[in-house]
């Protein structure tokens, strides 16, 4: 089972107890990250706000289905937000060729003001990840693409997509490895 911070444990408990304080804490600690995910997927501020709101309501309603032994809280939150955002795009027929086309310039537009926790300059670390991995990670994590869709859109063989995803995540580990413990203790 993954290591869990006290804050994470507290949020889970409060949410399961249907205590609104849990939602308040979740919003304060994960809100901007979830909004970032929604924005990355939808590329539309208004839609992203709708997605964030809908995701938070889903989280509130489905918290009883969250199994702490199976995943970290954030993983669960990420899945809900990402899927809500993908559904939103699909339901609004926004998934056109133009919209799913990679806007590679976006990859480099992560502003320092958007980074949390503020005292960690994650952007610099993210930038140190090679573009070929970032493009694949963004396509899969944020663009709502399946590996096959990413392969088609990016014109990269499926096997390469798979290996870049794997290596990209491994590289992330190398980049953020020393920071993970800092982040973990920062949340305590």
């Amino acid at each position: 089972m993954a290591k869990r911070s006290l804050l994470e444990t507290q949020i889970i408990q409060l949410l399961k107890d249907k205590n609104e304080e849990g939602m308040s804490l979740l919003y304060d600690n994960y809100g901007e990250t979830l909004y970032g995910i929604a924005l990355k997927v939808t590329k539309n501020e208004e839609l992203a706000q709708d997605v964030l709101q809908e995701s938070l309501i889903k989280i509130w309603k489905k918290i009883h289905t969250y199994d702490e032994d199976k995943s970290k809280l954030f993983t669960w939150l990420f899945r809900i937000t990402r899927n809500t955002a993908i559904d939103k795009i699909r339901s609004r027929n926004l998934k056109t060729d133009q919209e799913i086309q990679m806007d590679k310039s976006n990859v480099y537009k992560v502003g320092i003001e958007s980074i949390t926790p503020e005292h960690l300059d994650l952007k610099d670390h993210l930038d140190s990840l090679e573009d070929k991995y970032k493009i694949v990670l963004e396509a899969l994590f944020f663009e709502g693409m399946t590996q096959q869709e990413a392969s088609d859109e990016l014109d990269i063989p499926l096997g390469t997509i798979k290996s870049r995803l794997k290596i990209g995540l491994r590289e992330l580990r190398k980049i953020y490895g020393p920071l993970i413990s800092v982040l973990f203790y920062a949340m305590l």
């Binding site: 993954a2 308040s24 970032g36 993983t75 958007s114 949390t116 994650l122 399946t146 992330l172 993970i180």
Partner: protein, 258 residues
């Protein structure tokens, strides 16, 4: 490391599981590997941490206040659900049963109260009827007694007429010493002031015994206490409530028995 674990780690199944893009069958398989192989669990945890850090690097300030909206919505939903949901069927059944029981209890209690009132009323009426029967029987007995006196050939009739102070006084006494019965018929009584009354006394072996107060009785026959040794009857006009020994000045009528 086992071959199948190695294959799993080299595939992209863990990454797909991380994002939730996986079939139920694959999910079951991966969860089994995570549970039973620490190296798979460790790799999965690494992926989770990487994902979180990667996502945090893309965090964006939220331009509008979504927090208040969400809190408002969940508060409303919670109120709605607690009023709707928090009532399992057995609570409803128990509540209905309790209400039915309470209603039945109130109904029965009310009926019991009505019956009790009716019972008391009937008992009171029966009691009144009994009293009336007793009174009627008593009257009947008096009547019988009186008429027995009148019809008896041994009965003697004595007329008591008032003297000058009570000229209008006229009573008739019926005495039957054999049957020890006596009755009196007040034919007429003169009007008296409120402070005075007529009292009837019997002379029993020289001792005057108070028999009662005479009142206008519309010529009804009234029974008179009979005592052995009665020598005569006297009627006195005395102050109301007088209990002393009457004197000759107060006497308005008198009769000596044979």
């Amino acid at each position: 490391m086992k071959k199948d674990v190695k294959i799993l780690l080299e595939s992209d199944l863990l990454e797909k599981y991380l994002l939730g893009d996986i079939t139920t069958l694959e999910e079951t398989r991966i969860e089994h590997y995570i549970e039973t192989h620490p190296e798979v669990a460790e790799r999965y945890n690494e992926l989770q941490e990487n994902l979180e850090i990667y996502a945090k690097a893309h965090a964006k300030p939220i331009p509008v206040d979504i927090k208040s909206k969400v809190l408002e919505i969940i508060e409303k939903e919670d109120n709605h659900h607690s009023s709707k949901r928090g009532m399992p069927w057995y609570y409803v059944a128990a509540s209905v049963a309790a209400i039915a029981f309470a209603a039945t209890t109130v109904l029965l209690w009310n009926q019991n109260r009505l019956l009790s009132t009716e019972k008391n009323s009937v008992a009171s009426q029966i009691s009144n009827l009994k009293n009336e029967i007793v009174a009627t029987n008593s009257k009947l007995q008096d009547m019988k007694s009186n008429y027995a006196v009148l019809n008896n050939p041994e009965t003697k009739k004595y007329v008591l007429s008032g003297n000058e102070r009570a000229k209008q006084l006229k009573t008739v006494a019926y005495i039957n010493p054999e049957e020890k019965l006596s009755a009196i018929n007040i034919v007429s009584l003169p009007n008296l002031s409120e402070e005075k009354e007529f009292q009837m006394w019997a002379n029993v072996d020289g001792v005057l015994v108070h028999l009662g107060t005479l009142e206008k009785a519309d010529q009804k026959l009234l029974s008179l206490p009979y005592q052995e040794g009665i020598k005569g009857y006297k009627i006195y006009m005395v102050p109301k409530g007088f209990t002393g020994e009457a004197t000759a000045e107060n006497m308005v009528a008198s009769i000596d028995l044979d």
